[in-house]
């Protein structure tokens, strides 16, 4: 019998806000333990939560970006369980009235080759809700210490329908969410910092069956490749159990990315009863049309929409767009530069960014924002190459100098004497005429159809230009003159 896997993902995204979700104390990563705390975070007796509006704005924006319906009214519930990283021993979350309902995530599957766009699909979402993050336990040899810096960081949980079937789809889904959240300024989605986390619900069923099989929840998929590997491993494990005549049990399993294995954490019988009930300390939130529209106006173009536009409007190759698109700043840089460079030059702009620019940024360990190269200076550089003032090899040198000093390309060209010689097309034509006139034998050969004879005219021109003449331009000029000769 043939089986298919059914996968649903629960993705937690930390929302990037200045302060925590229910109190004023700052949110952040990498601070001294327990410095981002206050009486509310530590759940001291008598403290109360107050909703952070910036966190609500962010999740509404996320919902709008993913095409969710924004609930006109949503409420807050307590999810109750005891664990030392949870200061109140309940987590404020949303149970039956989440703020975002439905929606979908567009994904792209791997193409047949690296330079070929893969199939696109829409993975439907069940919901997105807002909750608070918990602290972190650090286990020592004889004790465990708790750091509550992370506790109370706004967290949204994006829940997909059980609508994916392969580890690749899950990988693509997570990647797409990541890009979308970064575009929206909602989160940096740095998985190493725990800003993006993923649990997967996985089951298998005979192909053609519509009912879901026994589901296993896979936890601790804490890098994007662990998500892919963990899911692939779990599907294989389930298929093997069934193939051996075994029966799958509903359980939660812990995936270890280092060893590529998983082990059972708890079975269904040991599942928590979270005893959800509406949090009496928080009022329901009403999202009216004006609030929604204000946020909608702040929503950026989605990454895949932008990619389609780049392919259509700028005619850049797919491979270049797949470098530009994931980083919103880079794609914006490209677009600004391509527009300044003018028609027909976007591909060159894209090449510069995808190759030289990214290489220099990475070597200098600089973020895009700190770069001294601007869209305008790159456009100018591309222009100089296009009109023949700069040879490609020289242009690379100019680019490195521009990156280091922030000078305009023309200034670098002048300073380093890198301009193609002659820089005046009239002078080059004179040199070419003289060279043709000086070699009638080659002229006859060329006229007789021996194309290689043209090289005989090039030598004296290149010599006159001391090697800095633009070969392409020399070739073009000679051919034009020879055609008329």
């Amino acid at each position: 019998m043939n089986y298919e896997a059914v996968i649903g993902l629960e993705v937690h995204v930390q929302i990037k806000t200045h302060s925590k979700v229910f109190t004023r104390v700052g949110a952040g990563y990498g601070h001294e333990p327990n410095t981002l705390t206050d009486p509310v975070v530590l759940a001291l007796p008598g403290t109360l939560p107050v909703m952070n509006k910036a966190a609500l704005d962010a999740i509404i924006k996320a919902g709008l970006l993913l095409g969710c319906e924004i609930a006109p009214v949503c409420k807050w519930d307590r999810k109750q369980y005891f664990y030392p990283d949870s200061p109140k021993n309940y987590q404020i979350s949303q149970y039956d009235q989440p703020i975002c309902i439905g929606g979908s995530v567009e994904i792209e599957l791997p193409g047949a080759a690296r330079n070929i766009m893969g199939e696109h699909k829409k993975i439907p979402l069940t919901r997105i809700h807002l909750e608070e993050d918990v602290g972190k336990l650090n286990h020592g040899a004889s004790d465990s210490l708790v750091d509550y810096n992370r506790a109370g960081t706004p967290l949204m949980e994006i829940v997909s329908d059980p609508a994916m079937h392969t580890a690749e789809e899950a990988y693509a889904y997570l990647t797409s969410i990541r890009h979308t959240m970064i575009y929206g300024g909602i989160s940096d989605c740095d998985m190493e910092k725990g800003q993006l986390r993923c649990d997967a619900n996985i089951s298998i069923r005979p192909v053609g069956e519509t009912k879901l099989g026994t589901k296993v929840e896979l936890k601790n998929l804490n890098s994007i490749s662990f998500v892919r590997d963990g899911i692939a491993h779990e599907i294989k494990r389930q298929l093997a159990v069934v193939a051996a005549g075994g029966k799958l049990i509903q359980e939660t399993r812990d995936y270890d990315g280092q060893t590529g294995t998983s082990q059972s954490l708890r079975s269904k019988e040991m599942a928590h009863d979270y005893r959800y009930f509406p949090d009496p300390d928080l009022m329901p939130v009403q999202v009216d049309a004006a609030w929604k529209e204000k946020l909608r106006a702040e929503c950026p173009e989605l990454p895949f929409d932008k990619q389609r536009r780049f392919l259509r409007d700028y005619q850049v190759p797919y491979t270049i767009t797949s470098v530009l698109i994931p980083e919103r700043g880079l794609s914006d840089f490209f677009e600004a530069s391509a527009q300044l460079a003018g028609p027909g030059r976007a591909q060159a702009v894209g090449n510069w960014i995808a190759n030289d620019f990214l290489r220099e940024l990475s070597a200098a360990k600089l973020p895009l924002g700190a770069s001294k190269i601007t869209p305008a200076s790159l456009a100018e550089l591309v222009g100089l190459v296009e009109v023949g003032t700069l040879l490609n090899a020289a242009a690379k040198e100019v680019f490195v100098a521009m990156f280091a000093t922030g000078e305009a390309p023309a200034a670098v060209v002048a300073r380093l004497g890198l301009a193609a010689v002659p820089s005046d097309a009239g002078e080059l034509e004179t040199w070419c005429r003289e060279s043709i006139a000086a070699n009638p034998k080659a002229l006859v050969e060329f006229k007789a159809g021996k194309d290689g004879a043209i090289n005989a005219f090039k030598g004296p021109v290149m010599k006159a230009g001391k090697g800095k003449a633009n070969p392409k331009l020399v070739d073009e000029t000679l051919r034009r003159l020879l055609a008329g000769a």
């Binding site: 007796p45 005891f82 200061p87």
Partner: protein, 488 residues
């Protein structure tokens, strides 16, 4: 001054202070001396900090000397129930769980009283986590009723009532979740006000049942209650359930609002279980209002019968969740026997909580459990809506309701402590008000033949405390119950 300082009202004492007949230091010293004299018999306090109180009094006097007095409360010693956070002071909720906890922050009401210049004096005894009706659930031993030391001052804010009745404070704050201000006020011959839910910030109040809890004042007179209420009422951005509403000058309104009012007598509040002496005293109070020109009308609150049931589902559900934070991890009692994390939870909570608290946590956990939520919690919330509707329907006909506060006067310590259900019945006249979120106050309306105070409950309309206080004031002006003090 025939009445000793420690038995005078805020209104009287603030005049003495303003006229420089006394200083806040003198007043505070007098109250502390009285506290020391009676505390071993009354046990109204979990702790008090004499140097701290005197330092506040000194600060008040120097404000006054500099012409910077803050008003009627400046220099007046006020005690706080030990569930309200005061920075640098213990905050125990009368529980072993928090026996060594010192609050690093202030409740909003604490800050309000401080900016009104009050001298915060003492952490007042109560039932553990405000759960109870007699203060016998305090982990530190019960408070005693100053009118009869063998009897309870009521609860859960029994210490707040006992301290004030004994002259160990000039006013106090309590909290009221099902009657915890009004019932002890009734049992100790005081005015006790439970404001509308949302009028006073709960930030810094240890939560028992968040949707029912409300802080309120105990005072010797209605006027004093109005003064304290004015200082602590108002919206607080730190409490999402606090309401944005205009705060009138409650004290000034007492004189402006003179009635006559239409008063309703809910027939369900005068049935079986009502002590005849209490019933008779309340009837006399009703007769007074009638004579005062008020129209008295019988009304019905048909869902009254379900109040206790709905309350013990909702309150315990919320309590089971609110008290989850006391786990021995970050603060509070941690069992010395604990070997692992589950042990820390189980042993710390087993050792740290008393029986009544455990009973309510277990009940609340049960009613929220998967499969039971709809049958208990959800249904109780629906009943709660019906109960509130009963009151609002009555208010289409009348301005306020009159009932007894407690079916019984102060009972003997130990009399009901073995029978939780009998204890729960002490709150039958007060609980509906919390479920409906309404304001209500208890004021003295007589004494039993045995000399125990009797309380009258007036129930008002949402955020109309000014009318409620004025209605009570009219009665008080014509009676002298508030001028009687226990001999202690």
């Amino acid at each position: 001054m025939s009445v000793p300082l420690h038995f005078q009202s805020i209104a009287e004492l603030s005049e003495h202070l303003a006229a420089r007949r006394i200083s806040s230091v003198e007043l505070t010293q007098a109250v502390i001396a009285r506290t020391k004299a009676v505390e071993s018999r009354v046990h109204a306090f979990n702790s008090f900090d004499e140097p701290d109180a005197l330092a506040q009094a000194v600060a008040s006097d120097s404000r006054r000397a500099g012409g910077q007095s803050c008003g009627a409360l400046d220099g007046i010693p006020i005690g706080l129930k030990d569930v309200i956070a005061v920075s640098g002071q213990p905050l125990t909720a009368s529980s072993k769980m928090l026996a060594n906890f010192v609050s690093p922050y202030n409740a909003t009401v604490t800050e309000s009283l401080q900016s009104a210049g009050a001298v915060l004096h003492g952490r007042l005894n109560c039932d553990e986590f405000a759960m109870g009706s007699s203060t016998e659930n305090s982990a530190f031993g019960p408070a005693h009723n100053p009118w009869d030391l063998t009897r309870t001052p009521g609860g859960s804010s029994g210490g707040s009532a006992a301290a004030l009745a004994a002259g160990a404070a000039i006013a106090t704050l309590g909290s009221d979740t099902g009657g915890s201000i009004r019932q002890p006020a009734a049992l100790c011959g005081l005015v006790g006000l439970k404001p509308t839910y949302g009028l006073i910030s709960r930030f810094g109040l240890i939560a028992y049942a968040s949707s029912l809890d409300q802080i309120g004042p105990f005072a010797r007179t209605v006027e004093d209650a109005a003064i304290v209420l004015g200082a602590i009422a108002g919206h607080d951005p730190r409490d999402s359930t606090s309401f944005k509403t205009e705060i009138p000058d409650y004290r000034a309104e007492l004189k402006r609002r003179r009635g006559p009012w239409k008063l309703g007598i809910p027939k369900e509040y005068f049935g079986a279980g009502l002590d005849p002496e209490v019933g008779a005293a309340v009837e006399k109070a009703i007769a007074f209002y009638r004579a005062h020109g008020c129209e008295i009308r019988e009304v019905s609150l048909p869902h009254t019968h379900y109040c206790l049931d709905a309350y013990y589902v909702i309150a315990t559900a919320e309590a089971s969740s609110n008290l989850a934070r006391y786990d021995g991890i970050r603060y509070g009692h941690r069992s010395k026997e604990a070997k692992d994390v589950l042990d820390v939870y189980q042993k710390s909570r087993a050792e740290g909580f008393g029986d009544e608290v455990k009973r309510r946590i277990i009940l609340g956990t049960y009613v929220l459990s998967s499969g039971y939520y709809d049958a208990y919690y959800l249904r109780a919330q629906k009943v709660r809506t019906l109960i509130r509707r009963d009151f609002l329907n009555a208010y289409r006909e009348v301005d306020a309701l009159i009932t007894p506060t407690s079916p019984l006067p102060a009972f003997k310590l130990g009399e009901k402590s073995a029978d939780p259900l009998a204890m729960y019945l002490c709150d039958i006249y007060t609980i509906g008000v919390n479920l409906a979120g309404l304001p209500a106050l208890s004021l003295p309306c007589g004494f039993t033949a045995g000399g125990l105070p009797i309380g009258l409950q007036l129930i008002g309309q949402p955020f109309r405390e000014a009318d409620l206080l004025a209605t009570a004031h009219a009665y008080e002006q014509a009676h002298d119950w508030h001028t009687k003090f226990p001999s202690l």
